[in-house]
Each structure stands twice: as C-alpha cells, then as structure tokens.
Amino acid sequence: MGTINAALGIISGALDADQQALNVVANNVANANTPGYTEEKPDWQQNQPLTIGGVSYGQGVTETGATSQRDRVLEERLNQQQQLASASGSRLTALNTLQALFTPDSGSSSSRAGDIGSDITNFFDSFSSLEANPTDNALRQNVLSTSGTLAGDISNAAASLNSQRAALDQETAGVTSQVNALTGAIAQLNQQIMTNSPTGDAGTLEDQRQQDLSQLSQLIGINQITTENNGLAITTTSGQLLLSEGTSYQLSTGMVNGVTDFFLGGTDITSQLALGGGSLGGDLTARDGDIPSALHSLDQLAYSISTSVNARNNAGTTLDGYTGSAANPVYIFSQPAVVAGSAAAMSVVMTDPNDVAAAGAGDGTGNNSNAAAMAAMANQGIVNGQTPTNYYSNFVTTLGATVSTVQTENTAQNASVTQLQTQNDALSGVNLNDEASAMTTLERSYQAASQVFAMLNTIMASAMNIGEQTTVS
C-alpha cells in the first residue's frame, strides 16, 4: 500500500502546492495596483523520490515559499539614473527662469532685463547724437535718460537674480527634513529585514525599502552598499555615511555666507551634494554655480561701463566749463569700488544734463570731442577686452547654450529612466511580459533607432551638402 499512499501523497502534495501557488498569484493580483509592489513567484522544491524494488518513483513537489522577482543591480541603476534626471530637471527649471529674465519681450513697453542689449546700444547712441549738437539740452537730457534705463535694467536684473537665488536657497533647506525622514525610515526597515529575512528576500519590507530608496534618489545622490544579513548602508555619492543598517545620521543645515549649507557630523558637505545628483544637487548647482556666474557677468558689465564712462566724463569739460578732478569728480554713474555687487548698485548719480562733459579738457564748452570719445567706447574692448554689446551678447549666448545642454541631458536621462522602469516592471512588476521579451524589445528598439539615426544623418548631410551623397539601405 506504500505505493498507493505515496501516489496519494503526490496528488495531495501537488494540490497543496497548487493552492499555495494560487495564493501567491492572488497576492500578486490583489497588489497589482500597489505602487512599488514586486511580483512574487512560488518556489517549488522537488520531494525526495521513493525507491521501491530498485525503481524510483517521483514524490512530486512542495511549495516552499515565495520569492520576489527583483534585481537589486537593476533597481540601483534605476535609482542612479533617477538621481541624474532629478538633478538636471531641477537645474533646468532654474536655468529656464534665468533665461526668461534675459529674453527680450517685444510686447512689453516697460524696460526690463531682457532689454539690456538694446539699452547698451541706445546709451552709446545718445552720445553720437550729442556729438552732432553738443549744447542741445534735449540731447543732453537723452544721455541721462538712456543712462537711467541702462542702470535700472541692470540693477533690476541683479535684484531678480538675487531673489531667485534666495528662493532656491529656501527650497534646498526644505529638502533636509525629507532626507532625514527617509533615511530614518530606511534604517528602521533595515532593522526589520535583518531580523526577519537575513538570508532571503524580505518581500513587502524590501518593496518599502526600495520605494524609500527611490524617493531618496530623487532628492540627493546616493550610493548603496549591501551589508550582512540583507542590511544596507547608504552614503552620499562622495562617500559620507547617511545610514548604516539600523542607524541613520541626520543631515543638518546652517547659514554660511548668506546661504544654507549642509552638514553631516559637523562636516560641511554642500559642495559634494551639489555634484552628487538628485533635485538637491540640481538646485545647489543653480544656486551656487549658474546664478552667481550670471551675476558675476552682470557685475563685470556694470563695473566696466560705469568706470570707463565715468573716467571719460571726468576728463572732459561740462557745458558750464568745469573739468572734474579726483577730489570733485563729475560722474554719470555711481562709481563702483570693486566688481562684486556693481550690477545691483548701478545707478545714475548725475542730475544736471549740463554736467555731461561733451567737450574735451581745455576745449570750449561747445566742443564735441569728448562726446565723440564716449560714443566710440561702444566699439572698444572696455569689458574684459570685449565691446559692451559683444560681452552681453556672449553672456546671453553662453546661457542659452547651457540651457540647451542641460535640456538635452535631462531628456536623455528621463528617457533612460523610462526604459529602465520598463525593464524593471517586466522583471519585478505584476506584468504579463517576461524578462526575455523585455530584453528583445530593448534590443530591437536600439537597433531600429540606430538605423533611424544613421539614415537621418545621411539625409541631413546630403541635404546640407556637408558629406558625400550616399544611400543607406
């Protein structure tokens, strides 16, 4: 009867195994819409065969549990790409705001930062006009008017940049509490996972940990290190320990030189976080790199125009016959002492149009040589060796190129995240596609896209007559 019992054992074992497998499937279906849920697949173990009279009879299978279909390496790569995409995304947002500030608005009648290019032209043109009739009061008034517009637009632009920087600073400071909450939660999950599942997959606990890691990756750049018993240590991309197994280390903030800096264990890690990725990395890059760089360019422009024009006016003769001196200078703009802060402080100090020194020193008051010299400055390399218009134009062009580069990076990184998400879903999500078909899709897409790219390249080269006209099959 041993054989019959064994046979029944096989059947009931198979039924039990089927039932447990059905439970796993039911669990998958029930969690199909749960964010971050990873599909579980039943583990089957072959039972020891029964040997009767030298013949082995199979004893069927027993379901020994469920294993989540996840791949930590893939999930980590996905997190890394998310860090990069978040960083370029938040930097791009800041850069777009910056670029909008310097974009000319043809529909607006009021003066603004976007008009600085035409302000510079109008300012130097006003001296050309004065050159033709140096005693004309209206033309002198026009010099003061164009000076005021130029100074106003530059100082307003600097104020806007400082406001944007302050807003970004506030935003970055707010990230700290989110990072600390997430590292704390991951440390707790680590503890539970290490206690309950030191050797196997921790199922939903692991899902939660992956979700928290994904959120953390969107905020800052991190590295993950697997420790013993399914534990995890997380560092910033530059190696500062954020959490190790059950212990998390809190990020703190403090004001340094007027902006929020980030500390970990008493060490200022702001510059490392800026390079690390995540939205914090992008915001810090904009706050400490892009905006100060734009501000410096404006400062340089304001400093060079103010000091050069003031020096020239001080060397000429006013309509009242006065020539300025070091002790009693005749300036058009407020005289900056250093480059830093020149843009924000730029203003017109001259109130009397007669003080515009159109005549050269020692010439009669009706002379125009100094007005001609000031008009000629428009074509001289007075701003870091460049003409004022070229300097400003280069600044705007460089800004545009930076926006374009970051836009390209962001698009590519988001595409990469989408692709990896698709692969990850195929592997770990509740999805009918299996890993092999996902891989085939990735391979076929890459091959088809490579073909499209090669053909477009040929078409464009041919159309632009850059290269030889060739066919691509």
């Binding site: 791949d71 390496v73 893939l74 790569r77 790409q81 374009s404 836009q407 390209t408 990076e409 698009t411 590519a412 990184q413 988001n414 595409a415 990469s416 989408t418 692709q419 990896l420 698709t422 692969q423 890993e435 891989m439 899709t441 990735l442 391979e443 076929r444 897409s445 890459y446 091959q447 088809a448 896209a449 490579s450 073909q451 499209v452 790219f453 090669a454 053909m455 477009l456 390249n457 040929t458 078409i459 464009m460 041919s462 159309a463 632009m464 007559n465 006209q469 060739t470 066919t471 691509v472 099959s473």
Partner: protein, 121 residues
C-alpha cells in the same frame, strides 16, 4: 507617418527626430521601425529622384530643415547613447543571472554592443 511611395504632406525633419527620440524613450519598437522605413523612403527619394528643379527645391528645403533639427539630433544621439548603456547593463545582468560571469568558466564571449552607427563612437 507617410507610407512609402505615397505623396502628400511630408513631416518636418525636426518633428521626425523628436518623434524618434520619444519612441526610443518608450521603447516603442513598432514606431521606430516605421520611422526607419520613412527615413529609408525619404533617403531614396532624395538620392534617386530626378536632378530637375523639384529635387533641387526639396534638397534646399531639407537643407534648411536639417539646420533647424541639429539640436533635436543631439538629443536623439544622447538618448541613443543612454539606451546603449542600459542595454549593456541589462545584458550584463542577464549574464550574471545565468552564471556566465563566474571565474574560470568562459562559456562564451561576453556581450558587446554592436556598432551603433550614430556617430558617437
């Protein structure tokens, strides 16, 4: 996208490149293969078309469109590069899972990306 051989409104090169980048991000193989056929047809028309006035005009229009699409091509190239990196990672993972990267077991040549032909190599 216009079928090969049909005459009608041709999409601008810029739109075509943007569409290709989007399709690649979504891993929409079918769409990419359609786009490849469209590009093939366009290229054939351009190369094998008569050398008369119409072809010269088309070439001039495409030349202007090509200049407009340079930025979008840079994006497409970057997405293609990211895809290649992802493909590399996925292939390495597959090999790892299949135990092919164990020391001392050189079962087969490790996977290497094929020549992409997109000019980044």
């Amino acid at each position: 996208m216009q079928e090969s051989g049909q005459r009608g409104e041709r999409p601008k090169l810029k739109d075509l490149v943007v569409e290709a980048s989007r399709a690649l991000a979504r891993l929409d193989t079918g769409r990419l293969e359609e786009l490849a056929l469209s590009c093939q047809a366009l290229n054939r028309d351009l190369v094998l078309g008569d050398l008369g006035e119409t072809n010269r005009e088309t070439r001039a229009v495409l030349g202007a469109e090509s200049k407009e699409a340079v930025g979008e091509m840079a994006v497409f190239a970057r997405v293609l590069e990211a895809t290649r990196a992802n493909l590399h990672v996925m292939n390495r993972l597959r090999e790892l899972r299949e135990g092919r990267l164990e020391y001392g077991l050189p079962h087969r040549q490790p996977w290497r990306p094929t020549e992409s032909g997109h000019g980044d190599n």
